[in-house]
């Protein structure tokens, strides 16, 4: 399996292709795409990637073909994944943060009552999540390196792994060795969003703290995929930059990871900027419409037949209910985005606001009424080495 030797490679590719915001030619290329180009792309067999395909499908010209894209995305997803949607729940363990990301409610500059869960408290939260029927758990933490250490995460995973068929993590970037330790403790998937692939935009939104290091973050998926993670998740925070450009870079990143870490399953997430505690939305000029989001989801599906596509409760019921027929394969349900949110009455100090507040059972019922089987379990702990 490729490992450390690959570090820095994707940075090089992104730079050479000028997808890190260093050149204007992609903006131009996207605007030059014609209806005929889109039609040609849609007449090809769906589900494989090259940059010309994603360029055509994410272009303004393709908006005219959104229904056709949706139909193809639905057919392809049913063929590859069946009429099923996997369900998971996030468990937030800390809201202390060393970073000052301009869009985030957990930013160190925000004044609110922060919380860190002890292992016992986190386990109590996990019990509630398990009692709702979930077997797929996502541990989430802000960049709280002093408290949410690798030791903490390993201990928590060891404690919880008997209760969940799979545990993954959405946490700050770690070293290759640290990711290996997580894997050995039973954390078998990692999701990390680059937030934006544009270097300049990245610096603007991440002015301080360890997260201001673009390159270390960009390289992190190499480190966790190289550590053997079965589930490798990437994404861009939608709203920071032109979503069409982000989609190009994201697709290149996904393709790169798939070819090198061929034993890991790749997934894309679609976190769209949401109102957050103490964050004004005025500073965001690239907010995505529902139509933009649908175009991005279907474009990626038509280029990646087997990638997991994840949509969280950040999105509202209308988008989520319809997205199950657009290529989405995995959803969270009943999420609480504040540490301790499942067991206590916590004020609205989550990382972002939840739009879809329905309970897990209500989500399962919605899926059934749309003709989908809600899948609570899709992994077997006995497969793990631990």
């Amino acid at each position: 399996m490729p490992c450390e030797k690959d570090n820095g490679q994707f940075k090089k590719i992104l730079g050479e292709k000028r997808l890190d915001g260093s050149g204007g030619q992609w903006r131009e290329a996207i605007s030059r795409v014609s209806g005929g180009d889109v039609e040609k792309t849609l007449s090809e067999q769906a589900g494989h990637y090259n940059i010309e395909r994603i360029l055509a499908l994410i272009s303004p010209a393709a908006e005219e073909y959104l229904e056709e894209m949706a139909q193809q995305a639905h057919r392809l997803t049913v063929q590859r994944f069946g009429r099923t949607i996997r369900l998971y729940a996030p468990l937030y363990v800390s809201s202390y943060c060393e970073n000052s990301c301009l869009y985030c409610g957990f930013s160190r500059n925000n004044q609110f009552e922060r919380r860190r869960l002890t292992i016992d408290e986190a386990a109590a939260e996990a019990d509630i999540i398990a009692s709702e029927g979930f077997t797929d758990l996502l541990l989430v933490s802000s960049e709280d390196r002093k408290f949410i250490t690798v030791d903490y995460l390993c201990e928590l995973a060891r404690r919880l792994r008997g209760k969940f068929s799979t545990i993954s993590a959405e946490i700050y970037p770690l070293s290759a060795d640290e990711y290996r330790r997580l894997f050995e403790a039973g954390i078998e998937g990692v999701t990390l969003y680059q937030e934006t692939y544009d270097r300049n935009v990245y610096s603007r939104f991440h002015p301080a703290g360890p997260k201001s290091d673009y390159d270390s973050r960009l390289d992190a998926p190499n480190r966790f995929a190289g550590a053997g993670m079965r589930q490798v998740g990437i994404g861009a925070l939608l709203g920071l930059n032109d979503f069409r450009l982000e989609t190009l870079a994201l697709a290149e990143h996904g393709h790169y990871l798939m070819k090198r870490y061929w034993q890991s399953q790749l997934s894309f997430s679609f976190p769209r900027l949401r109102p957050a505690n103490n964050v004004s939305s005025i500073q965001f000029e690239h907010i995505l419409s529902g139509r933009n989001l649908v175009q991005m989801i279907t474009a990626l599906r038509l280029c990646f037949a087997d990638a997991g596509l994840v949509l969280s409760t950040r999105e509202g019921a209308k988008i989520r209910d319809n997205a199950v027929k657009l290529g989405i394969t995995k959803m969270s349900a009943g999420s609480k985005t504040s540490p301790g949110g499942y067991s206590g009455n916590i004020a609205n100090t989550g990382q972002f606001e939840i739009d879809d507040k329905r309970t897990p059972i209500q989500i399962a019922e919605m899926l059934k009424s749309e003709g989908f089987e809600p899948v609570w379990k899709d992994w077997e702990r006995a497969l793990s080495k631990v």
């Binding site: 049913v78 063929q79 069946g82 890991s264 899709d378 992994w379 077997e380 497969l383």
Partner: protein
């Protein structure tokens, strides 16, 4: 129709059905019933094998169907062996559909790890039904290792492309001393009939049934197709010889010979 014998069991249906991708357990159960199958394969990763009330397991009547657990998700021999042991401990079933698919996209089987796992599992008393690429030598190796069947793919799983591996399947069927179950890639009843006419002992179908608009009706169609294909195979069909050729450009001169 002649019966299918695998290990110490006999079956009158030659269609295996997979349980993934259905929109509900209810539709799955109805499709299984319509298919007339007697062997139903279940991914261990998808069920709580120890739980009798598991939604999917509860929908499969164990008196009517042989539950064939599969090791979907296993990336190497160790994982597949561990999963097989878990299945047997929880259910008492010692039949296992061995799947070792390290690539999560095309889910192509790893022949090296599959053979390794098969050797271990056969020694431990499992009835092993390995999913393999259409590789005639690997099929013989598995047979030598004591596999109860071989299950070569017709085309990549879930692709509905039909018999893309025809030439290799023909060799596997010709050489096999164990039943050959064509698994993966059969998208239409005609593909299944084709495989049976070719001499496959059975076929396994999942995606083509589960993702059809009417899974129950197409399951019935697959039942008929498998039966038709088997009857045709057994009837020694007329050969589809080349068209009679009126002229014999090279030997025509012999016609005048007395």
């Amino acid at each position: 129709m002649d019966r299918l014998k695998i290990a110490d069991k006999e079956f009158s249906s030659r269609l295996f059905v997979g349980t993934g991708k259905f929109s509900s357990s209810k539709i799955m159960a109805a499709a299984i019933a319509a298919s007339g199958c007697e062997i139903v394969t279940v991914a261990l990763r998808r069920v709580n094998i120890e739980d009798k009330n598991d939604d999917m397991l509860a929908a499969i009547d164990r008196k009517k169907y042989l539950l064939l657990p599969n090791t979907s998700g296993a990336r190497d021999a160790d994982e597949a062996v561990r999963l097989s042991r878990l299945a047997r401990a929880a259910t008492g079933i010692s039949w296992i559909k061995l799947e070792v698919t390290p690539d999560p996209n095309y889910l192509l089987p790893d022949g090296i790890e599959t053979l390794k796992a098969a050797r271990i599992l056969v020694k431990e008393g499992f009835v092993v039904l390995p999913y393999i690429n259409a590789d005639p030598i690997l099929a013989k190796r598995l047979e030598d290792a004591g596999a109860a069947t071989v299950m070569p793919l017709a085309s990549p799983i879930g692709s509905n492309q039909g018999l893309q591996t025809r030439a290799a399947l023909e060799i596997i069927i010709e050489q096999a001393n164990v039943p050959v179950v064509v698994d993966a890639g059969l998208g239409l009843p005609s593909h299944a009939a084709d495989a049976m006419e070719m001499g496959a002992d059975a076929v396994l179908v999942n995606t083509a049934i589960a993702t059809a608009d009417d899974p129950v009706q197409i399951a019935a169609a697959f039942k008929l197709a498998v039966e038709a294909g088997r009857l045709a195979y057994n009837s020694g069909p007329a050969s589809a010889g080349k068209k009679a050729n009126a002229s014999s450009p090279l030997t025509g001169f012999l016609r005048d010979e007395k």
